[in-house]
Symmetry: C2
Amino acid sequence: MTSTNTNSFSSAVFPLETMDVPGGTETILRGGRHLFPLLPEALAGVRRIGVIGWGPQGRAQARNLRDSLIGTDIRVAVGLRPDSASAADARAHGFTEQNGTLGDWLTVTADSDLVILLIADAALAVHHRELFAVLRPGATIGLSHGFLLGHLRATGGAFPAGHGVIAVCPKGMGDSVRRLYEQGAQVNGAGINSSFAVHADPDGRAVDRALAWSVALGSPYTFRTTLDSEYLSDIVGERAILLGAVHGLVESLHRHYRLTGDDPVTAYERSCENITGPIARTISRHGLRAVREQLDSAGQDAFDRTYTAAYRPARDLIAEIYDEVADGTELRSVILAERRLSIQPMTEIGGSAMWAAGDTVRARRGEGALPVEPFTAGAFIATMMAQVDEFAERGHPWSEIVNESIIEAVDSLLPYMHARDVAYMVDNCSRTARLGARRWGPRFQAAYEQIAFPAAEGEGRPADPKLIDSFAQHPVHEALAVAARLRPSVDISVA
Amino acid sequence: MTSTNTNSFSSAVFPLETMDVPGGTETILRGGRHLFPLLPEALAGVRRIGVIGWGPQGRAQARNLRDSLIGTDIRVAVGLRPDSASAADARAHGFTEQNGTLGDWLTVTADSDLVILLIADAALAVHHRELFAVLRPGATIGLSHGFLLGHLRATGGAFPAGHGVIAVCPKGMGDSVRRLYEQGAQVNGAGINSSFAVHADPDGRAVDRALAWSVALGSPYTFRTTLDSEYLSDIVGERAILLGAVHGLVESLHRHYRLTGDDPVTAYERSCENITGPIARTISRHGLRAVREQLDSAGQDAFDRTYTAAYRPARDLIAEIYDEVADGTELRSVILAERRLSIQPMTEIGGSAMWAAGDTVRARRGEGALPVEPFTAGAFIATMMAQVDEFAERGHPWSEIVNESIIEAVDSLLPYMHARDVAYMVDNCSRTARLGARRWGPRFQAAYEQIAFPAAEGEGRPADPKLIDSFAQHPVHEALAVAARLRPSVDISVA
């Protein structure tokens, strides 16, 4: 992929801004409720939005869109499969057959001018042709990630001609898309950043339609990408720092601390709790470098040694993941897994010994600030930087890099993992993410245990000053600082 | 795959036998040096055999073939790439330019009536067309596993028309193919069992040619398979019980024993040493059931609980590996890895803490018999049985199942791992096997740690009597016993 100018764009409706990023600029739209009056103009021609599916994203997006469009004549309806188990919950949230906002997915698709496909990946793979077949002329297809593009490529399929194809991709879980939107009622602009992509634009109105959708979701800022770039960074990111790598890391760290003498609770605090707590919080508020800077000199030395030892094995694995996602191999494995899972359900991973300590650790919170553990922080930030570097080398826009590698982690996923735990998250996310995390998490665990930790602790294996200097001078800090200025000063509140 | 009668065959030269296997019979050829006088007749039309490559298999097969054909007019020559680093070693073993038995690979290929391709998989993928292009009319192509078939399928290629394509696939590493052959000078029939396959047979002589090759390698017995079946069982087996699973298992067991209070040396003895020592030896001499039967009642109970807990997660993983190998996904990932490895070398996995205890454990040997550890044995044998069951369900011939799941493990690989260690084996086997073991070993480790061990130790999680009964009554014991009767009573001697 080459970094072309796809991230610059113009709008007939919204006031855009230019954001400085390393080596250039990106056009972005800063969001906020003050823009809601512009939604009808941006959505001209769209009278009815159909949200197909009531998973975490469908549940959040349908409600945000409906609430943002109150007072307009644009109606948001939810389409579900016959006998969907989700119908009761959709009704409980005000989408009902009686008021015409809940119906069969084919009917809702046929009735809508913008059809947002938020059913599970496996269902989308099986049913997209039925849905495409009933689209009304000129209706726009909306996606929230690039899975369907990957699937169509893998199977020789195509989007139907004559229809716009756009994507708005919140850089956070569905639940946080809703929760921060609600917080946005008090703090204008609270929400989850989104990327958008225009894949087909037969009537020339795709950009404004996508921007309106993103503003209505509550995105603090919206940046442009391509469906390909989004697909790659999304699928790779959830297998790496967002989910798979963090699971592998906490499993390996917990054992590491147990084997060097810690009791299970202390080991939990120095591993999982440290990442989801003080490390995530520090990055979110003060950036990546602040984690290292707040350590004393011995701590910085430990950080540097672990960073040095973990960076290369993590980078190798992320390159491997990237290659397999780009090649279609990863998607094949998801499809094969779905076939097996139709016979034999997926086992859960929350049974490993470390999670038993989680309740005790959570009950203890507030007894005193937990200090950043340098060994843990070095390994975690090395992995995060490995993802940043791999994405930069593969030509992703900087907004996508920092959102998919850092902001989504520290402002959306890690706070959830802090409230529950990491294994719970892996066992409860989307099937594609869950399969990917289970596939790659153990690879990260093994890389830390077999390669990184022995090197970090080996005699005569000092930190690599070039690698540490490259971290200190890295352009990502500038990109993250710019993106952080666009972020409202509100943390997600996880019940 | 369906279990067709491909494993029955006839020979114009060799005296065949019928072996009872569960649900039927298989035709086999029992080997031995007394058959060497039949080799010229079986190889009629073959005056020159070219062995291309001097990796572990090439090095063993070229020497065995040459030594077995002494006194005939069939010459064995080794073909190497220009400037091959292996030339000196080949010369040291008597293959020289001077005596016409060492040459450029294209020249040797062009001069040979049977061309045995034993170069590395990656090289075969790149260079097979050049080699095919210089084959003399009527020359037979020989393979020792099905990789090339998988590669040709994946890339839309084909074997050249008009040439015989046969495979003889020793069920053990190259080094053991040579070592047991040498031991066979004293104990007639010592060697590594082989499967053979006939993929193309334009002159009707392929079966005898393949049998002769196998006899000349020293195979105690030779059974028939197809190139597809061989490919699947070979690639899956090395990712599972032969290499990947055993690595994941010993890593997880070592940590398990360390965390329950053992010092590193004791933990090593209860995990790795237990499998490569008493468990492998017991299976080799007395079969699978003997491992459980020699335990006392508490030990049998512990075995049964771990067996029950480990069987399902291991089976799920082996089904996943099988699907990905059959689909071509696994091969894609090897090809992608080879591309990355041309830039960034593969890291080694021998650095993890457990291996540091290996030297002490090996030095201690002989101080007293190490008892079988029931927890370790239950997990190991459950994984072995999971592979047996998966292969049986997919229709593999029983000889292939027991050789690729049990005999190759306990009579070839585990004795080597006992002399070195498991990580050393993983770091020093073929690239395809090494990549596969690194890809799947961590998955097994995570499955034991996160699913099997917590279940085995959980309160109120008794053994499943149906599963234990199915193990006790399993037809594999009969198949293994029949195969074991064909095995000479000599253990491999690892220097």
